[in-house]
Subunit: 273 residues, 4 copies
């Protein structure tokens, strides 16, 4: 038995995936005919249900990875490989309060809402109205919209929140907004950035030197998939070579800068990754 | 003001880090003298406190990354780069019930406990008594032990739990335990493995073909750090080249296998990583 | 002035490339009309010539990279990234005598012929007649066929040569032919292999332990291209993730094995790559 | 029998390597006692010789990789992984005439001299007298000095050669010398650069846009070594993460620029690497 309000993923015979916050009286219109959500509820996760045209659908409890793959996008979304690492570096946890800008299609927003839970709060800034609408629609489809305050506003005038646990900027010119971070982020709190080009990384690092940030880190994550054939195991022929550079730092506490690293240039950081 | 019971990280002038579940009446003995936790509580996150020898310590709210770095280890721990991805693929969320084996020093255990929160549950199997004790001690230090049921037992006889949301095996011969997974994991649920050698990956993939698992994926994650110098930006000279291969699959529901992938060989999966 | 017999590359306005061993009386039929090779000879490298339809062609002295890119292929060819490293590890030099099998479309053959020069010799075994013909045709087009003895024969019965300087096997089951190497390769000489799967690498390494080979090395080479835009410098979005694993070793001299490595497990080798 | 004048590598029981241009009357002083080169000559490659203290040495014909590993260095040398690719992209062949600057310790110089052979010519510029002396000494030890014209001079005033086949700059500010390339390099000829930082790459690309260069390419090469253990095959734990970025372009012929790429942004180039 699945409880009403739980999120379900319905997988078609052709592997098309439908995401639904379960409402027992809903009837889902699929490419393969109508599906009674009442039956889905009764069958439970791992169960099989049939459309009125007798096509079998599997009921699955989706993972966050499933949700991120399903985000409808008009923008470049942040990849799971990057999201997982961002979550760890930002210290996102059940109950966290997090600011992100810009929300874009809502890939990272989905992850932040997923982990902060019902007691946390995600403040998502998105300047463009169409992206904000898309992000909201993506969140609603999976029932996470109540955890997110979507703010359709430019961050040029700063953030309305105070003392949030972490802050992430996925914007083109993050250096323009550094000055607004200290009043929004808790002292000592982690801040992260995603940037596609080395020129942006360089400009951001320079700008951070003028501001109360310490322990800057720059890195990139690569995932290499293998063909899962036991007797001919080998990497896929091609891979994603680049999504973006991740930059992390910590907001200084309100007194002279300290260095969180023992090593002068972050060399030590490469020891654990 | 920090609430009693909250986790704090105290950073010494030489960047040594102490983790403490805040108890106002505790007095912490550091290399730089004694520190009153009452003062830490009053100063709050981002604050500065002084030992009785007048050495300044910074009070920081630790991130999960900080905690994983601080895990005392007698075993190879799982790296943050891998943990972040595992969390997404397993669908770990506040409230999740997760099985892992073996716990080792507790690096992944820490992450699982962090994300499943107070309403979830982590079942950690560890055969060796010394590792189980180390894992427990690592969890206690950061106040996450109540979320984890640490089971000092071999998994050769199976798992005591039913219907958990996800299962992760970090053991040398995971193929020996595949038969026990269906009775423990919810149908359709995600399962993950970490394996250092290609031979193990190959053996595991073969064994999974005989068992009710579908959508196998094999991948490796590489992190490359840069020297964060804006005017001479370049990667660090050396990097971690290998920690292990990650294998993921989904437990079949109790009827004929379906393929969760559209593409026959997982090629499509490489599109999102 | 280009000398008759020299290799020229003619680049069309649409960047189509023609390779020709210069013969002054030849008339080249291009997509853009006829081109007098006499004029090409007179204009020299870097010059511009016109077809009878007044389309401009540029005369370029091709690099080996240009030639390898132009190899007509019916097989997977070896990539320049791998070829460059193979050449160094095999010690290929002007005057070298080298055996390779199988020749395939002739990508590596081209490189071996290029570097061994007019005083060296390349012995290329290729079992399949169609591939041998293709390889020969590819070599003839660029005037390197006289440096190569193309042997359309299986290597199951061994090699006809003695005391060659180096030997490279790009065949599916190289372990089947290890026994024939000592009689063909100079003692202490380098041997190399290209293998697409980890299973093959593992099988080969095992087989080599039974034979007089030492200092085995296994490696893979990855090339990441960047978008050459100065103000938005970033890697290409996708890259070739895998072509094959390279394995190198040295044939023992005819007395007890010695270890050419100082380090027991080849760790030191990773210091220079 | 080895001919006088041939290069030999003598490998000690402890894997120390001595390089010698064979002179039959020389007596080599090793850590293990004196070695008669007359005996080395008679034993031939793959043979074993004994010092006057009865320690066995193996006689090996060195590969270029062996030579590059043995270069005595006071500077960062170019790695084999990069050298192999450079050689292919520059079109280095027996008989080529090549300019390089700066020579440094002579790692690339060694490779250029190796491949251009007795009929080619390497023009190596090195501003610093101590490096020039070291480079010369490294070349003499392996008998390649006669192929190299070592020019202890700054390239600020340009190159003395005309119409060389290729040109490579391994200097800190290559953009300062671009103006001198057209008078030294054959039109349409390849030019290459090695640069450690992204800032340098960006500056160089900008400068090349003002000069007669086309088809710029930027790339990096990574080599990952494996532990060669057949039953536990896995990558080494750590690897070299970065040596430098390689930039290649072609000098325009003396008329309006043409684009050697079909694709506008070099995307196609990533297809072959």
């Amino acid at each position: 038995m699945i409880k009403p309000g739980q999120l379900v993923m319905l997988v078609s015979p052709k592997n098309k995936r439908y995401f639904r916050v379960l409402q027992p009286d809903e009837i889902l219109n699929t490419n393969d005919g109508r599906l009674q959500m009442q039956t889905v509820m009764e069958q439970g996760f791992g169960g099989r249900v049939y459309t009125h045209l007798h096509r079998p659908y599997t009921v699955i409890k989706p993972t966050l990875y499933d949700l991120i793959k399903a985000v409808k996008r008009q923008t470049q979304i942040i990849y799971p490989k990057d999201i997982g690492y961002i979550i760890l570096k930002l210290g996102v946890a059940p109950g966290s309060k997090i600011i992100e800008a810009g929300a874009g299609s809502g890939g990272l927003t989905t992850a932040l809402a997923w982990f902060t839970g019902t007691h946390g709060r995600v403040y998502s800034y998105e300047r463009r109205e169409d992206f904000a609408a898309l992000c909201r629609s993506n969140l609603e489809k999976i029932g996470l919209e109540s955890r997110v305050e979507l703010i359709n506003q430019d961050i040029a005038t700063g953030f309305a929140q105070k003392n949030v646990d972490a802050l992430f900027l996925d914007v083109r010119t993050p250096w323009d907004y550094l000055e607004h971070i200290p009043s929004a982020l808790a002292p000592g709190g982690p801040v992260g950035f995603l940037l596609p080009t080395v020129n942006q990384v360089s400009t951001l690092l320079s700008a951070m030197q003028e501001r109360p940030f310490s322990s800057p880190e720059v890195l990139e994550i690569m995932v290499r998939h293998y063909k899962p054939v036991p007797e001919r195991l080998r990497p896929q022929d091609r891979m994603v070579a680049h999504t973006g550079y991740l930059v992390f730092a910590r907001l200084d506490a309100p007194y002279p800068k300290i260095n969180h690293h023992a090593a002068p240039d972050g060399e030590q950081e490469s020891e654990i990754c």
